[in-house]
């Protein structure tokens, strides 16, 4: 393999998207806290339409997905793509525009509009159509920004992270209209079938590929060793793109949507669990030697995220099965599941990617202690929240099956909801410390964490897939 040219990382854009990610994270989490608190004190904010629980919930989930996760992944892309492709991104000027458009053309108007009551009641698609247009525009722009380099370099040495980035950007753009536009045109249960596709594609084709891309990128860069198996990584990649989109209807099991579609989704959900075991095995074996609790906070976030990925995927496979679905669907079990996915898996990967990029920028502030505390608060908070809401879900499901009066399930949930608010406070502490870890401390403070793989040239070598013919892993 020839030596790759020293790549130019677009550091300004890494920082811009990184800071935007952390700020939108804290805003989105505040919405989550308000919504959680309102289940304890339902009259909090009563009289202020924009503080209505429904609107706050819209702002919370859209903010987490499009504000925090998307910005964090974009920051990571500005760091990773130049290294993966060996050349700068298409245009830094375009990048400034895209960053501004995403945050001031999507996030700010999106939030303002849903809080003002202009929204659509579609899960993971609550921002109104006019904002959706902007999202699509920026996604096209991101494609222009990041994709050409991959194709110029040639596919034979393309590393798994690159594949996930290409797949993630292309398929997000393709599937985005499915949940955001189609149900506005196709009425009723049929519209729900499309919503189901998007609810799962948002996680499966947008969040998961970019999170996995981050994990596959950070692990070799941090350990200085190539991943366990490029072949397995590619197998997992294709299985993901085959199986994830076919999961959609499992959000509407026992509905009027044709049973054959439901069964397809249920069976595919089970298969997805198998494919995730494969991916996770490869990731964990790639971590071998790094220990269960790596010293590098970026790697620590990533490795913990892998564990959450395994748990949330197996959980998803199981809860799509009819017997369990009958019991836990509509309950807080599902809310626990989505927090495990978006916070446990995706956010840990995103945080890992962000920290990793930060460590490699001499002008970036870095506070190792804050990051270590952020890790613990986020991990403990997430585990507690998932346990709390899963338990609440089981209690709710049991009361509903027993035919108890409806209000019994609400009354029984109160203590779990109260606990969730407190756990949310704990988690918020973690997020604030994450922000602190990347905005306080000495400039270039992360450089010392950088192991041997940190040298951009060496790093770009770890991030090349040997052609499969020569791959002996």
């Amino acid at each position: 393999m020839t030596t790759a040219p020293a790549p130019t990382v677009a550091r300004g854009l890494v920082r811009a998207h990184g800071i935007a990610a952390l700020v939108t994270l804290l805003i989105s989490v505040s919405f989550g806290l308000v919504a959680a608190f309102q289940l304890q004190s339902p009259d909090f904010g009563a009289g202020t339409p924009s503080l209505g629980w429904g609107r706050i919930r819209y702002a919370h989930t859209q903010g987490i997905m499009l504000g925090w996760l998307a910005n964090a992944f974009f920051a990571f892309l500005y760091h990773a793509v130049p290294i993966l492709t060996g050349r700068p991104v298409t245009s830094e000027r375009l990048g400034i525009w895209l960053c501004a458009l995403w945050n001031f053309g999507v996030m700010v108007p999106g939030w303002v509009l849903v809080l003002a009551g202009v929204s659509q009641p579609l899960e993971w698609a609550e921002f109104p159509l006019m904002v959706d247009v902007m999202v699509a525009l920026v996604l096209v722009g991101m494609g222009v920004q990041f994709l050409p380099g991959f194709f110029r370099r040639g596919v034979e040495s393309m590393y798994i992270s690159s594949w996930y980035i290409i797949g993630g950007l292309v398929f997000t753009l393709l599937s985005y209209p499915m949940g955001n536009v189609v149900p506005e045109v196709v009425a009723g249960a049929a519209g729900a079938a499309f919503s189901g596709l998007w609810i799962h594609d948002a996680v499966g084709l947008f969040v998961t590929p970019l999170a996995l891309s981050t994990m596959y990128f950070v692990i070799p860069a941090s350990t200085g060793r190539p991943i366990f198996s490029h072949f397995l990584s590619m197998l997992g990649f294709w299985l993901l793109f085959f199986l994830y989109p076919l999961n959609g209807t499992h959000h509407y099991v026992f509905s009027v949507i044709p049973m054959s579609a439901q069964l397809t989704a249920i069976i595919t959900s089970a298969l997805l669990g198998v494919s995730v075991v494969l991916v996770v095995t490869n990731l964990l074996l790639s971590l071998r030697g790094a220990g269960w609790l790596p010293r590098d906070p970026a790697l620590r976030f990533v490795s913990t995220g892998i564990v959450f990925y395994l748990i949330v995927s197996l959980q998803g496979s199981v809860q799509a099965q009819m017997s369990l679905n009958q019991r836990v669907h509509f309950t807080d079990w599902v809310i626990a599941h989505s927090h495990m996915a978006m916070l446990g898996f995706a956010s840990f990967a995103a945080a890992g990617g962000l920290i990793h990029a930060w460590q490699r920028m001499p002008e970036a502030r870095y506070h190792a202690g804050a990051l270590s505390w952020a890790y613990w608060l986020m991990t403990i908070g997430l585990v507690l929240m998932v346990a709390d809401l899963t338990l609440a879900g089981l209690v709710q499901g049991q009361l509903w099956l027993d035919g108890a009066p409806w209000m019994d399930s609400v009354a029984a949930s109160r203590k779990y909801w109260a606990a969730r608010t407190h756990i949310g406070g704990l988690l918020s502490g973690g997020f604030i410390l994450l922000l602190a870890g990347l905005t306080t401390g000495p400039r270039g403070g992360g450089l010392s964490v950088r192991p041997e793989g940190g040298d951009p040239v060496a790093q770009s070598r770890t991030h090349l897939a040997p052609s499969l013919a020569g791959d002996h892993t």
């Binding site: 339902p42 429904g54 009641p121 519209g191 079938a193």
Partner: protein
Amino acid sequence: MSAPTSTRALRMAYVVACVAGVLFFVTSVGLLGVWPTQMLRDQTTRMAPEVPLRPSVSESRGRLVYAREGCSYCHSQQVRFTAADTRRFGAPTLAWETQFDTPHMLGTRRIGPDLSRAGGTRSLDWQYAHLYAPRDVVRESVMPAYPWLFDGAPDRPTQEARDLVAYLDSLGRAREVAGPEGEARAREGCDCDDDPLMAMAFEGRLNNHPARAIRHGEAPALPIDAAALPRGQALFARHCATCHGPEGQGNGPAASHLRPAPKNLSQHDYSNARLASALWNGVTGAAMPAWRDLSPDDLGALAQAVQALSVTRVEPAPSEALLAQGREVYAANCAQCHGTDGRGDGTAADALPMVPANFTQQQLSLSEAVRVLREGIPGSPMAPWTSRLTSAEILATAHYVRSLYTPSLPGHLRK
């Protein structure tokens, strides 16, 4: 193997893989989106009534309010094809019932109950009072309050609140008005007798909501156990006091906005049978819901708590002459609705939005009887009688209707 060959083979493999990747995606859209859409359209054509009931303009506007406030994130709009769902809410939601829902609001979470069969389940005044201040009506509710949809009070709803309530009251209506003919057509179009899951759509009652009032429903005899009184009182405080007031005086926080107003239970004696019916079937035409989701034991305990609220007082015994006068006035003015024997089964009764009071199963205190005769019951067909009856006649009638009370009668509330 020479490098160029392997590279070419690899490139080829990747091209194939990329094409396959896009095909996967297209497959998913086809298999889980386009194809089910086609099936659901066919199903709708076969099963929907020939002339579908479209939402009114007001209901459509109400739907937008419902959507923007995120109601569907706590209240699903699909009864699933599961036993637990049909038992609680009624028949599973069919595709044609959602044919005008753009965008759909099937929902994936229930904090409150499913609302796809909400129409006709709650009275409109209940809806307004509940939207304005949910906990004034349902003590343990965690629903957000929507005071900004009102001009300062539940009985002054803005157009948006009217639209929203019109929408809520329309949920499930299309299938209800399609009637037995509609069900038969749907069943035929479904052709699913061999499909046990789909067949669930036609089993049991269309609307099974435990709170839905049933006008002449049967009511099981309630187990009466004196030891259950404290439990009944706790249940009363939890479920009933918001309307009837903590002491049952009809002055709970929701009371002032409900028409007809909640009964002042301290001024009424009710037979077991009357309470069984009111608790099990609710009171049609009033905000009083049914409580079929409580166990018979709980309802029995509740009935005792209600009876214990009655403030028994020694009333002056009416003279025979007074009773005779009352009987005469009653026969001339009251029997049409309340029935010749006071059983609430007069000739006009079935045409009224509420079932007239059955005086054999309930006894008002004398003062309450006089008050009702003088003031009527706003929100019900019971009119004030001061313009047509003298004070003496009103007093005589009050004595007479009280004399009809025979709680020992078996639980026939209707002949």
